[in-house]
């Protein structure tokens, strides 16, 4: 084994096209991770499993760019929180009016609609909701009074399209439609043509009026959500979570898991192997027998048992993966240490009475560094896929949205048989791309460090 200087490795590496491709992908992933950590508030991390955080997002909706590829435009999810506000007062009666303009230009009905508001009032004001459709028809949706209160209070409420009184109100206006509406959901009626059941495209105006008698009322916060079937760049999952955020958060996690496990196990294996090789004799024999035992343990069943019985926190998982990762590297570095041990300068250092630890760290380990670098790069993909596999089985850390975790949820909700491709494909592709980056770098390094492979 000949020593290669760092400069030589760098020069050779820059010549390798695969290696550079790997570095390129890795750079993109690292930049993505940094951007993710900066732009996505740390809060979102903790909110991943909090259903109420995602409530205003749609369920299992496709990415919006799907509309660019198909003729039938599926409705996009619209969250409107900037209404036109008017308030009037005549005599005792005051009216606050919020107006939402919805441009609906799709070939399918929306999933639902939700009106969310926070009002500050006293007494028992009346809330009225109506819609003016593109064909000019005006439909009354709801008139309800807010809970009575003697003092001024702040009240938050969500009105869903499934609300029974909206249905009843629509049913009372059934003669405006040329088809029976009693079995249809509210949104299918509101967004339909009046004579034949089908989507009516155009501008809808949703009006919300809050009437108060002798009091001043205010709507502090007002939001209309038209539940669509398409949302965001990557779509959403069954729990309404934005998959783009999940995928982004998964990037730094995957890099952390992969690199931590790879570096940890290579360092452990290297020191173990070098020590055994350097000491030789009985020590070597015992250490290598232990190595054999761990080598022969079936890793996956054990990882599963460890995750179930001890802990499934992401940091413990990294530790468990290290426990099974160092064995092969220990074997190789031992045999390398055996060779280096016989070199003149090591024997000289020994004769001069240098401490063993110093000889190992100063003279042997540096020689193995190029090999260690290649091993680290090569071990990363296995670490990432194994963690993803464990998460996929539901043994991962549920608090962190790793790619495996996303795929686990996808599998639980039957995403594949239901055809929710945007939930399945991207996490797997990300796992593969990350793995490939390290495989490329590892192969390039390996062919420099291992002259035998260079010939091919």
């Amino acid at each position: 084994m000949s020593a290669i200087s760092a400069e030589e490795i760098r020069r050779e590496f820059l010549k390798s096209r695969i290696g550079l491709a790997g570095i390129g992908i890795l750079l993109i992933l690292v930049i993505t991770s940094i951007v993710t950590v900066i732009i996505i508030p740390g809060d979102t991390f903790k909110q991943w499993n909090n259903p109420s955080y995602w409530i205003s997002f749609p369920k299992t909706s496709a990415p919006v760019w799907v509309n660019l590829l198909t003729f039938e435009k599926i409705p996009e999810h619209q969250i409107l929180d900037d209404p036109i506000v008017n308030s009037k007062k005549s005599g005792d009666i005051s009216v606050v009016n919020h107006q939402f303009n919805v441009n609906f230009d799709y070939d399918d009905f929306p999933n639902d609609f939700i009106y969310e508001f926070t009002a500050k009032y006293s007494g028992s004001p009346l809330l009225q909701m109506s819609v003016i459709r593109p064909d000019g028809m005006e439909l009354d949706l709801l008139s309800t009074s807010l809970p009575n209160s003697k003092t001024t209070i702040i009240h938050t409420e969500r009105i869903f399209s499934t609300d029974a009184s909206i249905k009843k109100n629509l049913f009372l206006q059934k003669e405006q439609f040329g088809f029976p509406i009693d079995k249809m959901s509210s949104e299918d009626v509101i967004f339909s043509n009046s004579q034949l059941h089908g989507v009516q495209k155009g501008n809808y105006i949703f009006l919300v009026n809050l009437y108060g008698v002798q009091t001043e009322n205010e709507i502090l916060d007002s939001r209309l959500i038209i539940g669509g079937k398409a949302f965001g760049i990557m779509g959403t999952d069954e729990l309404r979570r934005d998959l783009a955020i999940g995928l982004l958060l998964g990037t730094p996690l995957a890099l952390f898991i992969g690199l931590a496990v790879a570096i940890g196990s290579v360092v452990m294996g290297l020191l173990y192997g070098v020590y055994a090789g350097f000491k030789g004799k009985k020590t070597d024999e015992t250490m290598m027998r232990l190595n054999d035992v761990i080598y022969a343990l079936p890793a996956l069943p054990f990882l599963i048992i460890l995750a179930v019985t001890i802990s499934n926190s992401i940091f413990m998982m990294v530790g468990f993966l290290m426990l099974f990762g160092w064995v092969g590297i220990a074997k190789v570095s031992r045999s390398m240490a055996l060779q280096i041990k016989t070199k003149g300068y090591v024997e000289a250092a020994q004769m001069m009475g240098q401490k063993n630890s110093k000889i190992i760290l100063k003279h042997i380990v540096p020689q193995l560094l190029p090999y260690a670098m290649a091993s680290i790069a090569i071990s990363v993909p296995a670490a990432i896929t194994t963690e993803a596999g464990l998460s996929f089985l539901g043994l991962g850390d549920p608090t962190y949205p790793t790619w495996g975790q996303i795929l686990h949820d996808a599998n639980i909700y039957g995403a594949a048989p239901r055809g929710l491709w945007w939930w399945i494909a991207p996490p797997g592709v990300m796992i593969a791309i990350t793995g490939l980056a390290f495989v490329f770098i590892g192969n390039a390094l390996d062919s420099i460090v291992n002259p035998k492979l260079k010939k091919q």
Binding site: A296, L300, I304, N411, G414, A416, I424
Partner: protein, 351 residues
């Protein structure tokens, strides 16, 4: 002589590993298992009393009744040997001995298809299915892999060689179970050719069960082959490239023996030892990897059993299945070692 000693050492190591695995498993699940077993005894005693009202009537006070229940629970706990902690040497020794003679006990929740909760029955039912799927897959993979690898290796740098290498690197980057999900999406949702769930819906007693099982097996099998043959071909290619540069091949070429004959009879014969070793190893490796793949396809084998046992924390099943998986793993490692030893002249001559 050398070979015998070699086998001896390997056998001893193997047994050591088996014991270590068993011990580790028991240590890891032992404390939980005790709690579950004790709860089970409590339930059992109370259930018996509910079934037989005469027992409850024979007591005059609640305290007396409670004392009787406690006494019953303690008696049974002792009978099962649960009064000593799980880490006492006798109990660990006892459990290990029982498992060694393949007495795995009874499952807490899971049963076999025929309804038996004897773990041995469950394992005997699931094991053949896993072997059926994964051994078939490995054999198909190795045939395609050897053929493609030999072809690619004999024409290093050609189109087919580059295709094989690229395919190997890319296919091994994707997790098998993810490809499985994609395959289910493609062939069970988009083109409805195969069922999404690999468990046949008809009972095993039905005469058409085997056919149904084979039909349900197709999708997982295609997936395993698709993802597996690339890396095989790549390995074989690398051996072949080394061998094709040897002098005896060049000599054969100058003698005018056809290229095809050189590749498939002379070169491949020399590449056989490492290939056989890898075959033995990958047969065992496929059993371990089955856990996730079977979970995806819902294939009713060992892997899914393991997965189910974990989800409901059926610890006796976990111990039994780990043991069987380890035994299979060790046997194939041993065979691989033997093959390696047989082909490696240094081991043979005892140097």
């Amino acid at each position: 002589m050398g070979l015998k000693k070699f086998i001896g050492i390997r056998l001893i190591t193997m047994f050591g590993v088996l014991m270590a695995t068993l011990l580790l498993t028991i240590i890891l699940v032992g404390s939980n298992m005790d709690i579950i077993l004790k709860q089970g005894i409590g339930f059992q005693v109370r259930a018996e009393i509910v079934e037989n009202p005469a027992i409850a009537k024979s007591f005059s006070s609640v305290a007396e009744f409670e004392a009787f229940v406690q006494d019953q629970i303690e008696q049974r706990t002792k009978a099962f040997g649960l009064d000593t902690p799980w880490y006492s040497p006798q109990r660990i020794g006892g459990t290990m001995y029982k498992i060694l003679i393949l007495d795995f006990g009874r499952a807490t929740f899971l049963t076999s298809d025929s309804g038996s909760s004897d773990i041995r029955d469950i394992l005997l039912e699931k094991l053949p299915r896993t072997i059926l799927l994964f051994t078939t897959a490995t054999l198909i993979i190795s045939v395609i892999g050897i053929y493609l690898g030999a072809l690619a290796g004999s024409k290093a740098g050609s189109k087919i060689d580059r295709f094989t290498s690229t395919f190997a690197v890319i296919s091994s980057s994707f997790p098998v179970w993810w490809i499985g999900m994609i395959m289910i999406f493609l062939f069970a949702f988009v083109y409805q050719i195969f069922p999404a769930r690999a468990t046949p819906s008809i009972p095993p007693s039905d005469p058409g069960y085997i056919a149904a099982l084979l039909y349900h097996m197709t999708l997982p099998l295609i997936t395993l082959v698709l993802i597996g043959f690339g890396s095989w071909a790549f390995l074989v290619r690398n051996f072949m490239i080394g061998i094709m540069q040897e002098d005896f091949i060049t000599a054969k070429k100058t003698m005018g023996i056809s290229q095809k004959k050189i590749i498939y009879s002379h070169a491949l014969k020399n590449a056989a030892p490492p290939i056989l070793t890898i075959l033995a190893l990958s047969l065992s490796g496929s059993l371990g990897g089955a856990i996730i793949t079977e979970a995806v396809f819902d294939w009713p084998g060992m892997g899914r059993l393991y997965f189910e046992a974990i989800t409901v924390m059926d610890l006796p099943v976990i111990i039994g299945a780990t043991y069987v998986l380890t035994v299979f793993f060790l046997i194939s490692v041993f065979i691989a070692d033997l093959l390696y030893g047989y082909f490696d002249p240094r081991v043979k001559t005892g140097q």
